[in-house]
């Protein structure tokens, strides 16, 4: 086995209050490995608002600024402005928010920060629902998923709306860099974080974050499921640099059902519904390949 390129330095102490098998723990861990200690992180209401531990504990080796649910984009703008005015230019400012805090309630502030070219990295860890409050659907919950607010009943089960394409939304803001990352591929993850760190302006990282309680999965399978998301192409790994799309890992092209069948949140789906979902995944993949080949 070859040596990995993953930095050995750790910026997370033991003591995170995350659930067993929490993908967001790995997302934070790999993010900080890529960024290093000269980092300030702002966190809105989300699982990670709780996971560092009760005051005065902090399981991270970087300072944290907690902020209101919808305010991450504004908080990173304020932090950057203060550092600029004080002449501090070697610190990376990070916004670290969940999917609800990004694609729903925080979208306005994020859009503002992107439009103002705020010099910061915004990370959305995507567990595909409001997990900290107990598995309520968000704009990032995929079609077909069970959540507590999209219950599976006789007449109208599961979520019938498609997941917001946050990467396309961010691309439309013409930000210098956006990338998807997965805790199953830490080298790809950290490489993208390091690249993001070297760029000025608003950089966006979309991290898939398996959630055992919310996805109804075995906590020991989180990395496996994150890998299946890439291999079934439901969550492709790519980056958009100066508007140019580049797929960083094509995945094996496994049938979507391999990803769905290990998750309790999709157990109610019929074969026909799964084949509809498969078609959606195939179409998105073809679109992504087209974007890559056309250079947009």
């Amino acid at each position: 086995m070859g040596k990995t390129t993953i930095p050995e330095d750790e910026f997370t102490y033991p003591g995170s209050t995350g659930c067993p098998g929490c993908g967001a723990n790995l997302v934070m861990r790999y993010l900080l490995k890529g960024l290093g200690e000269r980092t300030i992180v702002s966190i809105p209401a989300c699982c990670w608002a709780v996971m560092p531990g009760y005051w005065p504990s902090n399981c991270l080796k970087v300072p944290l600024l907690y902020t209101a649910f919808e305010a991450t984009g504004a908080a990173i703008s304020g932090l950057r402005a203060a550092l600029d005015v004080k002449g501090v230019n070697d610190v990376t400012v990070v916004g670290f928010a969940g999917d609800g805090g990004t694609v729903d309630i925080g979208l306005q502030a994020l859009s503002g920060a992107a439009e103002r070219r705020t010099d910061a990295i915004y990370v959305m860890y995507d567990n595909e629902a409001y997990m900290n409050t107990g598995i309520q659907r968000s704009g990032s919950t995929p079609w077909g998923a069970w959540t507590t607010t999209t219950p599976v009943g006789s007449s109208h089960g599961f979520k019938h709306e498609t997941k917001k394409d946050i990467m396309a939304i961010m691309q439309a803001h013409r930000i210098p860099y956006a990338a998807t990352v997965s805790p199953a591929f830490p080298e790809d993850f950290i490489k993208k974080v390091e690249k993001a760190k070297s760029i000025k302006g608003l950089r966006f990282i979309h991290a898939l974050s398996p959630c055992p309680p919310g996805w109804r999965t075995n906590p020991s399978l989180s990395v496996e499921i994150a890998r299946l998301a890439v291999d079934t192409r439901v969550f492709p790994l790519y980056e958009i640099e100066d508007g140019k799309v580049r797929i960083t890992r094509k995945g094996k092209g496994l049938p979507l059902v391999e990803y769905l069948k290990v998750q309790g949140r999709f157990q109610h789906l019929t074969e026909q519904e799964i084949s509809e979902m498969q078609k959606g995944v195939d179409d998105s993949w073809i679109m992504l390949l087209l974007k890559e080949s056309s250079g947009t």
Partner: protein
């Protein structure tokens, strides 16, 4: 210089050397941030101007910048202020001495861009110091004083400087703009004991347990108490340096031997002082008490004033539905512990920019003097409203 209240705010923030300004436009606040954007663009003010996409973000950005050790300023009005409500609480809970101008304007619906105090009063419980101003000079001076009060170690709370929409915001008055050097000597650079910085892995605003939360609130309560004394001390220092003062928390005008006093806040106090002078000339023993600081509330000042009076009229430029004017209920609460309590009545007037004329104020004085002798029939009366008794018109 001759300038509007809004320019007085902008010059106040500039003289205080605000380092980060985050703001979103709303009528009638706009000329404050336009002027500040100009100061930053020309380099007259060395600051970062963040043109945010909402008032909520304006305050959230100020909170973050102030946490990182920068002196911040913003300005808003009405719907902008109420949109900030959540993060106003965040600012005080985080113990950040942010200073903000609110151009006090009525709330919709129906739409109104004109003055009343509903927006400001609705933020009473957010933990901010609140200063209602009577003049443009007071706006400028109070911004400078507020930074000094709020940044002192025992206080560390934010302050809201309230200008009446259009009456102050867009009306020009002579304003003495002090020398920068003098302001610098009065107000040192912001240098908090604790700020967010790399190398110190603190969490700012972490989760606390029920056995920890109340202590944070208790300390904020003590800080607001400290702010009361600090306001008085800072104003004395200000007077020593600049030769002006504005009346502490409760400005008393010709109250020494008064039998009845009108209590109010904001620009209408200027008109009321003229009316007091006119009535005094006819031998009536009337006075004016202007609530300058609504938070912290001048309970002791009200109490010592009230114990000598026969009647108190409280004029509110807002209304708390289901109760009365907020200033009235607060004044009444202060007066309760007096040995001898004057007769009190609440007058609701001037909502949505309706003029409060000298004639209306004369009639309020007339009314309170009559009922001070015979007792009040109605505790709260709406003044100059169509369909109600014509005596106000």
């Amino acid at each position: 210089m001759v300038m509007t209240g809004n320019y007085a705010s902008a010059y106040g923030a500039k003289l205080a050397r605000a380092e980060v300004i985050a703001a979103y436009p709303i009528t009638p606040q706009t000329s404050i941030v336009e002027k500040l954007a100009e100061f930053v663009a020309t380099g007259e003010l060395k600051a970062k101007f963040i043109p945010v996409e909402s008032e909520h973000s304006a305050m959230a950005a100020c909170i973050a910048a102030q946490t990182a050790g920068a002196r911040t300023y913003t300005a808003t009005s009405s719907h902008g202020l109420t949109l900030m409500h959540e993060v106003l609480m965040w600012a005080s809970g985080a113990r950040l001495p942010i200073v903000m101008t609110n151009v006090s304007r009525a709330m919709a619906p129906p739409w109104s861009v004109w003055v009343d105090h509903m927006d400001s009063i609705a933020q009473r419980d957010t933990g901010w110091l609140q200063f209602f101003c009577q003049s443009n000079q007071e706006v400028l001076d109070t911004i400078i004083m507020a930074y000094k009060v709020c940044e002192s170690a025992g206080v560390m709370l934010p302050a809201m400087i309230i200008e009446d929409a259009f009456i102050l915001s867009h009306t020009s008055e002579p304003v003495d703009v002090p020398e920068q050097q003098l302001v610098d000597s009065f107000l040192p650079a912001y240098s908090p004991d604790l700020k967010i910085e790399v190398g110190k892995a603190y969490g700012f605003g972490s989760l606390v347990k029920p056995d920890q939360y109340m202590e944070f609130r208790y300390k904020a309560m003590l800080a607001m108490k400290e702010a009361h004394d600090r306001i008085l001390r800072v104003e004395q220092e200000f007077k020593h340096v600049f030769g002006r003062e504005h009346g502490g928390l409760l400005e008393r005008y010709r109250c020494e031997d008064a039998e009845t006093v009108l209590v109010t806040a904001g620009s209408v106090a200027g008109t009321a002082k003229d009316v007091v002078d006119a009535l005094r000339a006819t031998g009536q023993r009337v006075g004016l008490a202007r609530i300058r600081a609504f938070r912290p509330f001048p309970h002791d000042e009200i109490r010592s004033l009230a114990s000598k009076l026969e009647g108190i009229a409280v004029l509110d430029r807002s209304y708390t539905f289901g109760a009365a004017g907020a200033m009235f209920t607060e004044v009444k609460a202060s007066v309760y512990s007096c040995q001898r309590r004057p007769v009190m009545k609440n007058y609701i007037a001037g909502l949505g920019g309706r003029d409060i004329t000298p004639k209306i104020l004369e009639r309020i004085f007339e009314d309170i003097q009559v009922i001070a002798k015979r007792g009040a029939e109605d505790e709260v009366e709406w003044v100059d409203v169509a369909g109600l008794p014509r005596r106000w018109r």
